[in-house]
Symmetry: C2
Subunit: 275 residues, 2 copies
Amino acid sequence: MTKPLILITNDDGLFAPGIKALIEVVKEIGTPIIVAPDSPQSGMGHAISIHEPLRLNKVDTFGDIEAYECSGTPVDCVKLARNVVLKGRMPDLCVSGINHGSNVAINILYSGTMSAAMEASLEGMNSIGFSLLDFSFDADFEASKPFVKEIIEYTLKNGLGENTKLLNVNIPKLPQEEIKGFKVCRQAKAGWKEDFLENKDPLGKPYYWMSGEFVNNDIGEDSDVWALENGYISVVPCQHDLTAYKAIKGMKALEKLNKGNSRQNSVDSGTFESY
Amino acid sequence: MTKPLILITNDDGLFAPGIKALIEVVKEIGTPIIVAPDSPQSGMGHAISIHEPLRLNKVDTFGDIEAYECSGTPVDCVKLARNVVLKGRMPDLCVSGINHGSNVAINILYSGTMSAAMEASLEGMNSIGFSLLDFSFDADFEASKPFVKEIIEYTLKNGLGENTKLLNVNIPKLPQEEIKGFKVCRQAKAGWKEDFLENKDPLGKPYYWMSGEFVNNDIGEDSDVWALENGYISVVPCQHDLTAYKAIKGMKALEKLNKGNSRQNSVDSGTFESY
């Protein structure tokens, strides 16, 4: 029986305790191959490097486990892993993380961890992004490990079905015995209220530094935020089709705009009564 | 009658002909306010700057139109516009682009243009991202302008309904009279087959440079790719809930994993027959 090939990446780089915990789990299950950024890439979202070359260096950070650091973004790491390191060979699974800090709700869009996992799913792999609700560098990943192992084994055995190739998994910061298990849920309707720290640099020139507060007004008990707040590990199956299908019908009037008329002249904006 | 306040941004920076064309349209309709990156930010996706300060400089590039350049990503530009430039005042609309090159299908995830528009929609504005199917710097935006004006006016007058706050608009590279009008459609199931140029730098060290080919196997006539190939302007209403709802039910078995058992010991992976 061939062991499954499992691609590991993250957005915090090779020295983050989170990826070390993930590697420890994966090496019990399959053959890990690691391609991770050579610098912190939190908040890089789905960024890719178009205008510059990428570096890829083999490292022996994890003994005999094949590992590379890459100068690009988390999404670059996955693309390089597939096309250069693995020369097109398809891993059986991609896992990303374990991120230091939550990636619930809309954070999936900002998160390098989740964007790497999303990219892997776009490339055709089943993929899981893991995050622990603890932002600190020395977060304790021990309680997470048996659950991470369980859901990786579940996915390898059962697949993810035809409607998703990507799971967004967030783990509460709780002792292992207090974690109630997995809850399959939807992305909460929650987001950020930004605030910018405004200050001056040593030359007196102003700068702005982003900060913010996570705001959740979603009271549903089927959301990822609810699951976490109630001691569960949230599991959101994700897709990359962003079409708002329900909105299509209501917008069909757009297709009738100026139908049959020449658009040589711009539309008479006097016909619009309000704005 | 107060003119609508329209926030303009892009990912190519203030000197791109695409944003100039957009500004020319917007100033006929409302009061433009411009916050755009001070360097090219194509492919930056939904990246945000967490680990570094941002600069924001007022510029007189467009005469008496209020305009700023920002050192951050397209998403940073929108966040700074809302929180610092406008001090929380809500624009009536955000428009992003006009991008030099298509942002159909999955490109919405990689595109700085679309991510800026997505961010504006997350902040509560109706928002439209525009792209022309011409990658060249000196692309001709004249044919696009009456259509851009038309859909902006439509959106200001009618809103976008309760199911979307974001439109992904792609315009074919055709003479104005050959453009057949708007087609409201879904995101095509199409993506990239990457290739990496591998070469050596002057010191003999290898580097990799991403390239790729856009591959569309989606034969549906309701997709954005189809619309564009057939002379229409594609309009995809978008959402930011990435939950794959259809996948939730099939994954409920996860919630029963080890239910009631202690997870002090890791799962016996011998129970998994195949992988």
